[in-house]
Symmetry: C2
Subunit: 318 residues, 2 copies
Amino acid sequence: MSILVVGSVALDAVETPFASRENIVGGAASYFSTAASLYDQVNLVAIVGSDFPQEYLDFWRNRRVSLEGLQIREGKTFRWVGRYHLDMNARDTLDTQLGVYADFHPRIPSSYQDSQLLFLANIQPQLQMELLEQVTQSRLKVLDTMELWLMTERAALTEVIKRVDMLLMSEEEVRQYTNQASIVTGVRQLFELGLRYVVVKQGSYGALLFGADGTYFSAPSYPLEEVIDPTGAGDAFAGGLLGYLSTVQVGPDGSYAVDDLKRAVVHGNIIGSFACADFSIERLRTLTMDEIAARYRELVVYSHFDPEWQPKSHEIKA
Amino acid sequence: MSILVVGSVALDAVETPFASRENIVGGAASYFSTAASLYDQVNLVAIVGSDFPQEYLDFWRNRRVSLEGLQIREGKTFRWVGRYHLDMNARDTLDTQLGVYADFHPRIPSSYQDSQLLFLANIQPQLQMELLEQVTQSRLKVLDTMELWLMTERAALTEVIKRVDMLLMSEEEVRQYTNQASIVTGVRQLFELGLRYVVVKQGSYGALLFGADGTYFSAPSYPLEEVIDPTGAGDAFAGGLLGYLSTVQVGPDGSYAVDDLKRAVVHGNIIGSFACADFSIERLRTLTMDEIAARYRELVVYSHFDPEWQPKSHEIKA
């Protein structure tokens, strides 16, 4: 199996209340590819400038990330400068420089056409649609987005939502897009667009999985004492989710078993938690499946409770 | 077994964005007693005025809530007037009228002295301490508080914390009291005051249980499509938690089994979810143990995942 991802590969400058870094690798597709390639082959579609460090290209190639769809152009890589607030849950974008990304149009190499899973990271809906139109076969199309497009490109975004199977959104984005205070009601509205799955990201509270068939799963977050840099945690979450799904069998109708979907969201949370442990993709670079399995076992202990409890007769009070 | 509770019994006026009610039964001890008495005997210590409706006193008496410690004085019952914001997660107190509560001093009837569990609802720390000084034996002392006392009565509150076994706090209260951004770090600081357990309430995200012995449990919330009135949800949570704990055996050293503590927090979340389904204590009045058991079974499905997952060899990438 393999996973096709289209999204940004960037150079970031990040400032948290406790430290700062400049000229570090960022972008949704960078986090996603590094995470998902722990599980399976990743086929990257993106663009970088001639200033992008060769070291990271070599790292991805060695880590089963195909770069055949990565366009390398004379000029500057997309740059993002951000600063986190004291509580790390909010941040301000201080600057963005598009560089070679300004003229980006995704192109899928023919060798990518057998990708069974597709991840549209949070780039402009128009570019997401351009990519969708080149896809001839795909078992699962997954869409991520960001608040900016909800506000400025709502119609185009809605067209993309109608053409994918699974949507990832933060709680705030669900509320904003559906104009519903209740997440449950908002997600029901999203299903009217034809989605099969909606995954609601809740940051440090974990994630919720909704299925159009009524499936509901609340995945616990891994408790972190310290967050070094939350940038890319959502993209790493998606990488763990799709990476895990890429390794499982689907039913005859192309649907996933609920147990597989649950495991996939748990993997997403675990990978997202590791992403916060360092700046850029550094922690994800050294991450091993044994470390992932250790956090998985911890989460079982942290979140499971007696499934067999029944009220005793003396507790029943009509 | 029985549970002693001291706290407010009030008459509320509540306004939400969708509806409003006046002159309804409120107060932390009202919610707690109604919830906990689903599980076991409750011994109430509180004060009301002569205007408090007899119907509710009769209801509690019929529901194994002893009112021997309820002082009924000529005058007006404590009144609270609140208005919720559009998202129901924030509210403003518009008015409070202390009435007979202004002269309240808790007194424990001798018949209450065998209460094994003690719940100090969110009244003034000085009154909580007055009650503690009358308690001769208690297996588990549990303390709730509110933001007001963190700001105005920090020293007195700290003295009470030092004398109890379990503390219930919202996430925001943990951050404010400990001045730590990380809940994990903040809770560790709380344990230095001698607590055995800290339960962190996360509203619609559920609750976290921390033990001084390293126990950690993240209890899922029950997903609600509609919240009619969140008033008292935290008190009902405490009622479910202590109510359940009152029905279990403790070890020779007086400690609870982790599985019992986990079940107790899940019960707390379930009862809290029911409290939101109507104004005042109305939903809790009609609640049955079968309805609680049904939500318990749902939460198992909603939050449990394969506990046995191990990476397959082909997934391992060094």
